[in-house]
């Protein structure tokens, strides 16, 4: 079952985006493209570096087989332009003249040095919104520093909060959670700022320049850690599988009978106690929690450690799925710690149409992708097309901006496109 009408245009239909973005900003561009914007990815003639990042289809390294590139570039079009040549820069300017948004992730100062700064690019296109997403922003002492996903999670505070109790790791090494989330955090904020500018332009007609920093986006993404320090002076310490705290808190990641875990943290209160105990009792594992004294919020608070221990003991006897569904049906906001391996079979998300099959005609197959986070009944968020081949849309995009067939042939002969 899917509740979206696949023939409807997306919410960003009619918006043209030029994406000159690498690993830093490709996620932002993907969101725009899956929302229906016409996102034109400008690549160098051999393709962007992200095409060299694995995993690869059938483990064969090839710029057209990178699953990393596939995921982050769905629904976009690709044009190759050699920006090292003046003719390429002129072409890029013409392309940007046709755009609503330019999303770029070049090192600070690089585009202006090529004659492609905001003032130049907006001269013919005063409504242009130019979003520069860079590791540290366009100003400040670190603006030219190198970064990676690991380094952003380090400086941004994610690692200071993630890791192990001393009993699990005596070194308590800071851990950088995987998945490339430093770039996700930057891209989420870049998207929000850019849409804010677009909505403003709908009213005023005026474009503007946005200087967005991945470092600042990461620094904003540790929930209470910063306010806690600002208001109390307390600094959190790492704990296994749960919120870091300024003082130790009880474990919440519970081992299950099938060798997995259930996260049962944060959420016990008087209203939840009764159905939870009833469920535990039905499995013969409520112990003394059936005592009427546990109806009293003060007792629940005071006996928190004991209650947790009883829950852990029961959960240790059953499977992660049994604990997850049983706990949820008793009203607890628990979650089984699942691997990505468990996800494609998930009946709930399949029912929501969340894993669309995306066709790859070159290999004659379709693959399940993670789809849209939200269902938009009137303007679907969806994957329109697999990621583009290198320069796949060069000729048609150039045709759209007035480059005729003979001019195109000349550009190609000169190695500009």
């Amino acid at each position: 079952m899917t509740t979206t009408e696949s023939s409807l245009p997306g919410p960003l239909a009619g918006v043209r985006v030029i994406e000159l973005a690498d690993r830093i900003g490709q996620w932002c561009g993907k969101m725009m493209a899956d929302f229906g914007a016409d996102v034109i990815k400008v690549e160098p003639l051999g393709g962007v570096a992200e095409r060299k990042v694995g995993p690869f289809y059938q483990d064969v390294p090839d710029p057209e087989r990178s699953l990393y590139f596939w995921h982050y570039n769905t629904s976009k079009r690709s044009i190759t332009i050699d920006l090292e040549q003046q003719a390429g820069r002129d072409l890029f300017r013409t392309l940007v003249d046709s755009a609503d948004i330019l999303l770029e992730t070049m090192p600070p100062g690089r585009l202006p040095s090529m004659g492609l700064g905001y003032e130049v690019l907006s001269a013919n296109n005063p409504g242009l919104i130019m979003t520069s997403l860079t590791p540290f922003g366009q100003t400040g002492p670190w603006r030219d520093y190198k970064s990676t996903d690991l380094l952003h999670l380090s400086a941004g505070g994610q690692m200071a909060g993630s890791g192990y109790d001393a009993s699990d790791d005596p070194e308590q090494q800071p851990i950088a959670p995987g998945g490339g989330n430093g770039w996700h955090m930057g891209s989420h904020y870049a998207y929000i700022g850019t849409l804010g500018a677009l909505l403003s332009r709908n009213v005023t007609g005026a474009g503007q320049y946005l200087d967005v920093s991945v470092h600042e986006a990461c620094a904003l993404t540790t929930e209470m850690h910063v306010p806690m320090y600002i208001y109390t002076g307390n600094v959190v310490q790492r704990q296994t599988g749960r919120h870091a705290g300024s003082r130790p808190t009880p474990p919440t990641q519970m081992p299950t009978g099938d060798g997995r875990y259930v996260n049962g943290g944060l959420g016990m209160n008087a209203g939840r106690m009764k159905p939870l105990v009833a469920w535990m009792d039905s499995l013969g594992g409520a112990g003394d929690l059936t005592d009427p004294k546990y109806a009293d919020p003060a007792t629940i608070m005071a006996e928190g450690a004991h209650i947790s221990e009883q829950i852990r003991t029961l959960v240790g006897r059953i499977t992660a799925d049994e604990a997850f569904h049983g706990g949820q049906q008793a009203g607890m906001p628990w979650g089984a710690v699942r691997s990505t391996d468990d996800l494609p079979a998930d009946k709930h998300f399949r029912a929501r149409g969340f894993f669309p099959d995306v066709e790859h005609p070159e290999v004659g197959r379709s693959f399940a992708y993670p789809g849209a986070a939200a269902i938009y009944p009137k303007s679907p968020w969806r994957i329109y097309r697999r990621a583009p081949l290198i320069g796949e849309d060069t000729q048609i995009v150039l045709h759209e901006i007035g480059v005729d067939a003979s001019a195109f042939a000349a550009l190609r002969a000169a190695g500009v496109v």
Partner: protein, 455 residues
């Protein structure tokens, strides 16, 4: 004079806890008039988010200020720039007033479990009778549709269920997970993405719609390359050597992808001088030239000249010895000094920064004004978290903090919606505009008297 980008947009904010309020926080920063409808009844677990945190080690109440519903620093930051009105949506009069606000709003957003708002008479269909083009954003964990829609989540369970938790940690230990509710922060991001994107659709077509966000689905999209390795290549991520901690490949296991980016070595955290919990720095050399530059920064030690380290393949194969050599060098340096020396020679390195480091010791964030102070009516002036963007045409400073509870009752209820002062006074007693179980705040009565004197 400049306006903020969303000047003229109004948001009826029925969110609570963290993910929803973080979404509307950024709508307020962008200039929307965010009206936070509150019902500060402690029995609801602090449904407004004004709960005084009772878990030791987790709070943000200044130690020298008595805990009240207006004293939590976390709340002050999370609700900056919003307006607050107190009313009970589960009374006929409260519901009527919510609908009056709705009639003059562009967006309504809520993050209750699926079905809760419908049961109060505030479902989407009901709302479109009041405001046909309303944008209604729901952000439940499992969304509004699907067999598990009734399930309840919080940040940590979203992370667990989506696979994000299991992407964090080292082999042969439990998942390390995320040391905060990453998916409350990021669920909030998707909440505002939902609002902004639907506003653009409305600007183009005139149509509103009900955006059905699932926070778990949003989290799953963040595991994309791992999922594609499974759906395309059939490779599970529940495998030996995965997740590989801070490295791109765990030593002694096949060189497979970690879904963070390219293979690299060194790629790890190293202890630095000082011996503190966060005296660590990270170094990541993405190619041979960055590695050679690091060798130079380390003073060209003999061990590093070994040919086995000259190539990425060799460095990945000999990571244990490589990391031990770097660790022996790093332990004598302050983490900021290590970063400066490395970056001066083009080696990617950063300190592991705590919250304290970011606020007090990070010259980049200071130069960019990330924690410039702002005022709150009762707490005074404190550093606030600012936007991670500079907008040239429509600046978005976070120039004041959260409203106190009911701060805007007079302008919203009396001056705008036409509630009489007598009705408001009675409503403060009869569970319409203030919970009967909670003593009325004196500032609300004073504001009421003042409003009377002014009229």
């Amino acid at each position: 004079m400049t306006n903020r980008p969303l000047e003229g947009v109004r948001v009826l904010d029925l969110t609570w806890v963290r993910a929803g309020p973080w979404a509307t926080r950024w709508m307020a920063v962008l200039g929307a008039d965010v009206i936070k409808v509150e019902w500060p009844e402690p029995a609801l677990g602090g449904s407004t988010g004004r709960v005084v945190r009772t878990v030791p080690g987790m709070g943000a109440n200044p130690p020298d200020i008595a805990p009240t519903m207006n004293s939590d620093g976390h709340f002050n930051d999370m609700h900056a720039l919003k307006r607050s009105v107190t009313l009970n949506a589960r009374t006929p009069r409260g519901l009527e007033l919510v609908k009056k606000i709705l009639a003059q709003s562009d967006v309504i957003i809520e993050n209750f479990s699926a079905g809760v708002l419908s049961s109060w008479g505030l479902g989407y269909d009901e709302m479109t009778k009041v405001k046909p083009d309303i944008i209604y954003v729901s952000m439940a964990g499992f969304g509004q549709a699907g067999p598990l829609a009734e399930y309840t989540t919080m940040g940590p369970s979203v992370q667990a269920l989506s696979g994000l938790t299991s992407l964090s940690g080292v082999p042969d230990k439990p998942p390390a997970g995320w040391g905060w509710s990453y998916m409350d922060d990021t669920g909030g991001m998707y909440g505002i993405i939902g609002m902004l994107t639907a506003l653009q659709h409305r600007a183009t077509t005139g149509e509103g719609q009900h955006v059905d966000l699932s926070q778990v689905a949003a989290a799953i999209t963040l595991t994309g390359p791992a999922l594609l390795d499974l759906s395309v290549n059939g490779r599970p991520s529940r495998r030996s050597g995965f997740p590989p901690g801070n490295r791109t490949t765990w030593p002694g296991t096949p060189v497979l992808d970690n879904y963070r980016g390219p293979q690299a070595a060194p790629h790890n955290a190293y202890r630095t001088a000082g011996g503190g919990h966060n005296d660590w720095a990270t170094i990541a050399c993405s190619d041979d030239s960055e590695w050679q530059a690091l060798v130079g920064v380390m003073g060209s030690p003999t061990w590093a000249a070994d040919a086995k380290y000259a190539t990425l393949e060799g460095r990945l194969k000999h990571q244990e010895a490589l990391d031990a050599g770097i660790a022996a060098w790093a332990i004598n340096l302050d983490k900021y000094a290590l970063m400066e020396r490395c970056q001066a020679d083009g080696v990617p390195a950063m300190p592991v920064q705590s919250s304290q480091d970011r606020v007090d010791n990070d010259p980049q964030l200071r130069a960019r004004g990330m924690y410039d102070p702002a005022s709150h009516p009762l707490l005074g002036t404190w550093p606030m978290q600012h936007a991670p963007w500079q907008m040239s045409g429509t600046p978005t400073p976070v120039d004041h903090g959260a409203p106190i509870c009911g701060e805007h009752n007079i302008p919203i209820l009396v001056e705008w919606l036409g509630v009489s002062r007598e009705e408001l006074r009675e409503g403060y007693q009869d569970n319409t505009f203030w919970p009967r179980s909670v003593p009325i705040e004196s500032y609300l009565l004073e504001a009421l008297e003042h409003a009377g004197a002014a009229s």
